[in-house]
Symmetry: none
Subunit: 219 residues, 4 copies
DNA sequence: CATGAATGAGCTTTCATTCAT
DNA sequence: CATGAATGAAAGCTCATTCAT
């Protein structure tokens, strides 16, 4: 107490924690992500998180208000990453074909999903256990994506490549198809193969991921 | 009651008791359904349910083992109803076109959804807050539907009407598209219009519900 | 429903119950005894008892106020039987020796124990799980027996056959010795030998049962 | 503790916390002991215990898994204390007489009983309300003591000081006699005299506690 | 007499959150 | 910043008991 201690740690746990990670906050995020994936969001207690993060219970509340708050942070980061992966379709002459561009978008999205697998599962599998607030964030995200697709459909109709249709409904269905395929592939990596891991997103999968939704809406 | 009963019997007493039993049970199911829809499954406590049903706490446990048990009962009934709405595609000559038959199936499914709206929302919106066990029941349902679609695709390929493709993936996507559309329409009836209620499933909606998924997989 | 039914039973259970037993009350006592022995008094619920007796829940309360009440009835019957087995020591000349008479008393007590085994276990094994009230009944019984022994010691001291001692304490110890031996032998019949049953009270056992306590107090 | 600590350490914060921990735990043990004695184990609720300890409900579960767990802790401590009080009989020449040694053992046991009165009552009065696990612990304890006595009898028979007999049965009876006397004296301190307290174990009592059981088995 | 559906008090246990150190 | 003991509201579930039939 009186001595000049230059090192803050009192035991292995703490020291390990400090040296190993950038910050307590990211340790908590990491731990939350992992536990959420492993036990589901709402079967994960704050205790599970802090234990996994190797910090004290009270520390959690220095960084987050509650469980939904962490989840919100995770989801926000994930959504930002997905946003970053999506490029607007370039319709200027000389640009790659729209189909090509869509495929590239989906390829980048798949990469993001692989990097953020834990959170992706949460967002894609439906708002499983996303108590109120957080579910709303996810919902907002999907609405925005949907609006983007809707706009793209309008453009496509203008260009005469998209068939006449109820754009909103078709956007929903196209998105639903993609989401279902991605969600299933994500889920597949969960329990079955513990050794090899990952059937993952290969080129054939990607091809169908583009083909099916487009056939439904192209002329 | 009025008749002169001179001998002990499995009398009105028993039958009345039985109908009381039946009605309490269905009151509980009704209440559970309503609360689940209103607050989400896992934010609904046993207390919420019994209060809504107007019975005592202990009464609940005369009929169900726990919350998942009620949910299971609701989901089972719903699944049975959906099953009852689906007819196998009849490929004998003279039968209506498969597209026609698919549209009829979907129309009947929509009717079931309207009748079982509360439970439908739970099953369609994804395993939102479905504590472990219950989520499994819903998951099983979807797996079975998926298998049915997969089989249908195989038949279709045999007949040369379905394009060559990864059947499993296409089944997932077709189902995802339909599910997304239905789910959204169901959800639409939720909060916004409390007076008029229901944008519901009209013929245009139904038409697109058939068209979009089929275009993706037909030759 | 409309047919003239001349038999009062509504199902096998009821008819079986009525024909098999003398009265509902003794069926309940029987059932209680058995369950108490099998699960312990306080792990036995009213439900266990009525189920074992094959009667309805409410019927129980036509005959007993509560669990302790049944236990009380069982214990009372047991105590009466024990009392009936004990004869005052006859000190008139020409009577068998006191030791002989004590041995006979104990022999008769052993017989009672065998007949009332279920209740005997409860009374002898100590107030195991005897919720307050019931424990008191058992306690009263032992106090009375103790008083009897105490009196006998006084008589014995008067006759000069019992050594001078703290009669109360010696009575307690003599009783404790006998009780321990009987209790252990009773307990022995419980779980171990399921096929042969019963090591039970043989003559050697009885001999020591008399000898040991008496040596401690005779001159 | 006194040494100059110049390095990070399990510092005052921690040690203070530890002593708080320790004191809460022992407050709970104390409270449990007292309530168990006053109301009987199984009529004592967790609520009774925490109220008596002056802590919140949840605090209990920081230290014990359930009621049986506390009881187990109490019983274990008691049994250990009793064990510590018993010395093997020393038969080497020059040692005090066996009777003397036995008396000393019993005297020490009586002292332990007085110190652990509350728990002693539970263990001695029979496994009252000792749900499953804990009852087993007590049972095991008595079996071990019994085995010790049995061995001692064998030795005594070898030395020719113990009469020929069924050693097991005699051990049970001797133990039963002692246990009954101790148990009764313990119980005596319970309700009657709340002011003066304690008739307790005096030398006369102790003398008879040795004499009676020994007379039954010595030649 | 007999029934069994209904009751609700009461118990155990969990867990998000606070706060003194 | 970090800690972790303490809190207490809230949930789940059981079971003795009542009462209309």
């Amino acid at each position: 107490m009186l001595s000049g201690r230059s090192l803050p740690m009192t035991d292995g746990r703490t020291s390990r924690a400090h040296s190993r990670r950038a910050s307590t906050r990211s340790a908590l995020l990491r731990a939350a992500r992992t536990r959420f994936r492993a036990q589901g969001v709402h079967d994960t207690s704050i205790d599970d998180i802090v234990r996994a993060a190797g910090v004290a219970r009270g520390t959690f509340y220095l960084y987050f208000r509650n469980k939904e708050d962490v989840l919100g942070a995770l989801v926000d980061a994930f959504i930002a990453a997905i946003r970053g992966a999506v490029r607007r379709i370039d319709t200027t002459p000389g640009a790659p074909s729209p189909t090509e561009q869509i495929r590239d978008n989906l390829r980048r999205i798949c990469e993001v999903l692989e990097r953020h697998e834990d959170v992706a599962v949460i967002v894609f599998m439906g708002p499983a256990g996303l108590d109120g607030r957080s579910a709303a964030a996810v919902e907002r995200f999907w609405k925005q994506i949907e609006a983007m697709v809707c706009d793209a459909l309008a453009v496509g109709q203008g260009l005469g490549v998209v068939r006449p249709c109820n754009r909103q409904q078709v956007a929903i269905m196209a998105l639903g198809a993609v989401r279902a395929a991605l969600s299933r592939t994500l889920a597949a990596g969960d329990e079955p193969t513990h050794g090899s891991r990952r059937p993952r997103f290969d080129e054939d999968f990607l091809e169908e991921l583009v083909t099916y939704p487009l056939r439904g809406l192209l002329r």
